[in-house]
């Protein structure tokens, strides 16, 4: 399973990558929105786990860019948004794309990894 992990907090990124790889996933990890868009352009991923507040652009911008490659229904299935700011506007917007939103810090890390790796 091919996973793209977009997370700028390096410890979170490394930990999630490790935990997913332990379960056999192939994880590409990037820290910026720009790198994420680049990856999405040239590779096909089964799952894209994307932080919302990136240093350059927002996770929603990454989703908008990936519209060149994926259909709406594919975006809803592929993308999972992880965020520390879960205001109602954020949740409404995520619902507009039809994708899942998970709040950091996660209550149960194992359940979250399970969610990431279930397509």
């Amino acid at each position: 399973m091919q996973v793209l992990l977009v997370e700028d907090e390096i410890l979170i990124q490394k930990s999630l990558k490790m935990l997913m790889e332990k379960r056999g996933a192939k994880v590409t990890a990037v820290s910026s929105g720009k790198d994420a868009i680049e990856q999405i352009k040239f590779h096909d991923f089964d799952r894209i786990v994307c932080d919302l507040m990136l240093t350059d652009i927002s996770g929603f911008d990454v989703i908008e860019e990936s519209k060149h490659r994926y259909e709406k229904s594919e975006i809803a299935k592929k993308f999972i948004i992880i965020t520390a700011y879960s205001s109602s506007q954020v949740i409404d917007k995520a619902n507009g794309y039809g994708c899942k939103v998970l709040n950091k810090p996660f209550d149960n890390i194992n359940d979250v990894i399970e969610t990431f790796l279930t397509v």
Binding site: E9, I10, I12, S15, L16, M18, A84, P105, I109
Partner: protein
Amino acid sequence: MENTRLHKSSKQSLKLFSQVSIDGQLDHVQIIESAKEADLIVKSLDDEHFSLTFVEDANDLKILKSNLIPHIQRIARSYSREKLDFKKILKKNTISQSQIFSNFLELLKIKNVLRFIQESLSKNLLTDVPHVHFVFHKKGDISASYAEISSNNLDLKRMSVEEFNDVFNTIKKAKQTTFAESFLKSSQINIVGTCLAKAASFRSHNLIIIGTRSEFIPYGKNHIFDFNLFCNINLNLFDVILENQDQLELTSKLQSISDTLKDYDLTEKKINNEFHIKRISLLGELLNTLRHELSNPLFGIQLSASIATEELKQPDDRELAEQILEAIEKCLNILNGFSKLYSSSDQIQSINLLKLIDEVFTLTKSETKMIKREIECEPSLLNSKGELIIQNNPTSLSQIFFNLIINSSQAMRQLPSGQAKIGIKISQELTGLRVDYMDSGPGISVDTVETIFDPFYTTKQEGTGLGLSICRNLAQKQGGDLWCVKSDKGAQFVLILAHASTVS
């Protein structure tokens, strides 16, 4: 108005006796041959002046010869309206009796003695005589108070006691009620035309009442009767008022001061609340940013440390990683605690009260680490997990406990180690949950158990005096209450928390 009155009232002619011949037509005048029955006598004074004498009150008027006919005509017209109407007088008398009673009732709520007199005058006397001079002298004072009263004006001045006595004695000795302006001409009393006057001596005051229409036309029997009636009926009232003037004005001043204070208190409470809300929401915003900025990297540390804990084989390394995890847990708790303390949300939530109190102790650790804690809870209130779940606002509760605990720890700073103690006892009461809070500090003196809740009351050099006042507001806003218990062993507070079901 004048006309209707003229036509309605029964007419009466003025009986005129004149030493000089009167030419021309005069209405309402009957020229008679004898001075005995006359109402008005005309005499020649000198080459230019006549004198007019009103028999009834022995009042003399000096007028220019050329003015005689118009003057007599005005007097006669006025006289013809004034025929005594006994029915009217009786009615006025009864009205005045009930008036006294209502006057006394009003006396109880007066703001100013002279205003009150003005009001009572304008209901009666001022309709007939639009200007009343009310002069009173407190025996022994060096001057008299002089109020010139009309229905829409009240002028105050002082009058020398000599002058007062002059006027007073003149009026007192005179048999009549009406006076020409000349008799008062020398004094400060500023009167135009004839006037009605009365002088009365009370226990501690002398009083002069002078009424005038500012006209030269003499007063008819009706006016004189009404004036006398008014004076006689109200003299007792004036006696009481003047006698008790100081107390009355003091009482009304106290009343108005306490009214003002009430207003002030309300405004102050409002300002405090607004200030408090502003401060809390600003701090809340700052802390919210701080929490988000810190919790993300903290989460990263937590995740990687927990992975490391599982990977590490050496017990020492494992222990170290576990300690890192514990430290992170603590950080996250403090962040949560602070954001609870300064959240602007009014939301009622399910809260574990015991955990909340524990969190507040954690937040105040720098102040409370030397203080022994005893927290007791009625076992029936706990659920199977040992939690005490209530419906309340976590921010309000955290702030109340935060304030109480900080106050206690500051008060107990001087105690020898091991003696500082905070006790919290939670029990069920009819009105809600009762939290008895006590410390082992020097306590609160019996006479300040209420004052400590007053805004800006503080015993600390750097205190704002707002803490407890805000706490009480917060408790009451949730339908509960907070008060201080008189005690000789440390400070004791009772906090009542209403359950969510009793809160709308």
